[in-house]
């Protein structure tokens, strides 16, 4: 971690901006209205730390192997999250809350299982349909609600898309987050059924132990940045 602290913000920009700039205005995340230098620095450190995770998260093969080795990949995320929060505590400022833009950036680049396009490009996920309640403290619960809009009303793959989003968020977000994913009202024939399945913890956990399904999801997530 310490060697990254000394890196310049320029490196940070390189890591972050392409991801953010592609689909929407990228400024939201970098805290444009930060006045205190220390707070700014903390935020930068947090970003750098986040970017540290991304090679791991990108490497789907490694994730699959980790799962097979019976290690929970989210542990990796948890640990780095604690590190960032500790660092924030030392600097005397609260941890940085996660905002909808960050959630969007995590999920917009997931590939559609049917098309050679991402969920962001297809407007299956939209920034305005992401709701986040987070105070940024690691010891308080937080919530993310993502409404998805499947491309066609009878899209049988809505459950798979939702599952891909959930797996992505569960792996990337700290444990304090409760994730709710549902299909936007009126966009799907059997939305209640899909919603119930997507938010059933036990079914999602079992799905994540299904190698075939995990393979499909890994492929969807392989385009995440």
């Amino acid at each position: 971690m310490s060697e990254f602290i000394n890196e310049t913000p320029t490196v940070l920009e390189d890591n972050q901006l392409p991801t953010r700039g592609e689909d929407t205005d990228g400024n939201l995340l970098l805290g444009t209205d930060v006045t205190k230098e220390s707070l700014h620095r903390t935020k930068l450190l947090l970003k750098i730390d986040n970017s540290l995770q991304s090679p791991v998260l990108q490497n789907v093969e490694l994730l699959t192997k980790l799962l097979q080795l019976n290690q929970a990949p989210e542990l990796t995320t948890d640990e780095s999250d604690e590190d960032t929060d500790d660092m924030a505590d030392e600097l005397g400022v609260p941890a940085d809350p996660i905002d909808p833009q960050e959630i969007y950036d995590l999920i917009a680049h997931i590939s559609d299982p049917e098309h050679p396009l991402t969920l962001g490009q297809l407007a299956v996920v939209n920034l305005k349909d992401i709701e986040v309640h987070d105070e940024g403290y690691k010891d308080r619960m937080a919530e993310v609600i993502v409404k998805i809009t499947p491309t066609i009303t009878h899209c049988s793959l809505a459950t798979l898309i939702g599952l891909g989003i959930r797996v992505r968020l569960e792996r990337a977000l700290p444990a304090r987050f409760r994730i709710t994913i549902f299909v936007k009202e009126g966009s799907h024939q059997s939305e209640n059924q899909v919603n119930k399945q997507l938010n059933d913890k036990e079914r999602v956990a079992a799905a994540c132990e299904n190698d075939q399904l995990l393979g499909v999801i890994s492929k969807m997530l392989s385009t995440c940045k």
């Binding site: 690691k138 308080r140 619960m141 956990a205 079992a206």
Partner: protein, 336 residues
């Protein structure tokens, strides 16, 4: 005395799904596919079952009453049966040996439970069915004596009555079903409708004078149901007697009814809540603990007895088992 953490044990590398306690021995099951046996009075790990037996998460563990036989149900659709090796030996060595693997369910086994006399083992699965198994004396051979298929969805949990041959199952179809033995077979005796989401678990009252059950649901509520009578068609009539004070903000994953009449509930919001019946059918919250596994979800809460003392055990997504002291005798003062 309020709820107090007695001991926190990091036992698993992933979600703890299930806890069962018998003779002061705790058994735990986890997504990490292992089952651990702990001496709860000394917080000592006695054994870890061979974790290559199950290929997926161990969702449910259950001790057969008055024995050291343990059943473990897994997402790999099988149930394993274990017994303490050299049980009669006086030394303190513990080793669980595999007695049998039971196959039959089409997919994930969600819950296993033994009847009060140990005669039957019940299991349920995402395949929408509840199976009742009968074993030989040694616990090595298992024969399925009934497959109950009335639930229209995933069956999440099964629990037996503490004295009667009565089984309750909770389901993704939002109902609880009561099953009873009838003419050498098993049949549905009642359907309990009222929850507005998956019913995650239920537990019978430990009473010899009345028949009641509590249930926890994805709709964030805890309800108490009461048997009224057998109707003309010989179906049991049950009513929803109470919905407990709303305190949970998310799914209630686990409920437990203590021998002295307290209900405990826990779930996704991380709260552990204890209720007492102030007047018949009227329940009060007597204590609660926020964030009882930090920011993690709590999958199971269970009243357990260790050396005659009643405690609560909880298991969470953080891989911890937490044991809680709570003085039941103090509750009457609290409410005055």
């Amino acid at each position: 005395m309020p709820i107090q953490l007695a001991k926190s044990l990091k036992l698993h590398r992933d979600k703890v799904w299930s806890i069962d306690c018998s003779n002061g021995m705790l058994a735990t099951g986890s997504t990490d596919r292992s089952v651990k046996i702990i001496d709860a009075s000394q917080y000592k790990l006695l054994d870890e079952l061979d974790n290559t037996v199950h290929k997926k998460a161990v969702r449910s563990v259950a001790w057969r009453p008055n024995s050291y036989v343990l059943a473990a149900g897994s997402f790999d659709s099988t149930i394993s049966i274990w017994n303490r090796e050299g049980e009669e030996e006086m030394d303190n060595s513990w080793e669980m040996e595999l007695l049998a693997i039971i196959e039959g369910h089409e997919n994930e086994v969600k819950s296993v439970a033994w009847s009060h006399d140990g005669a039957y083992l019940a299991s349920c699965s995402r395949d929408k069915s509840v199976w009742i198994w009968e074993s030989d004396e040694m616990g090595e051979e298992y024969e399925c004596i009934s497959v109950l298929q009335e639930h229209s969805q995933d069956v999440k949990h099964v629990v037996w009555h503490p004295y009667l041959q009565l089984l309750a199952s909770s389901s993704y179809d939002d109902t609880i079903r009561i099953w009873r033995e009838y003419d050498d077979d098993w049949e549905s005796a009642a359907v309990l409708n009222g929850h507005e989401g998956t019913v995650w678990s239920s537990d019978f009252e430990k009473s010899e004078t009345q028949l009641r059950i509590c249930s926890g649901s994805d709709d964030a509520s805890v309800k108490v149901w009461k048997y009224v009578r057998d109707d003309e068609e010989e179906q049991q009539e049950w009513i929803c007697e109470a919905t407990l004070p709303a305190v949970h903000t998310r799914a209630v994953y686990s409920v437990s009814w203590s021998e002295d009449g307290h209900i405990a509930s826990a779930g996704s919001d991380g709260k552990l809540v204890i209720y007492r019946e102030a007047q018949p059918g009227q329940w009060k919250i007597v204590d609660q603990q926020e964030l009882c596994h930090g920011v993690h979800e709590v999958n199971v809460a269970k009243w357990i007895k260790i050396n005659g003392k009643t405690m609560l055990a909880t298991g969470g997504d953080d891989g911890y088992i937490n044991l809680w002291n709570w003085d039941t005798s103090s509750t009457s003062n609290k409410n005055n």
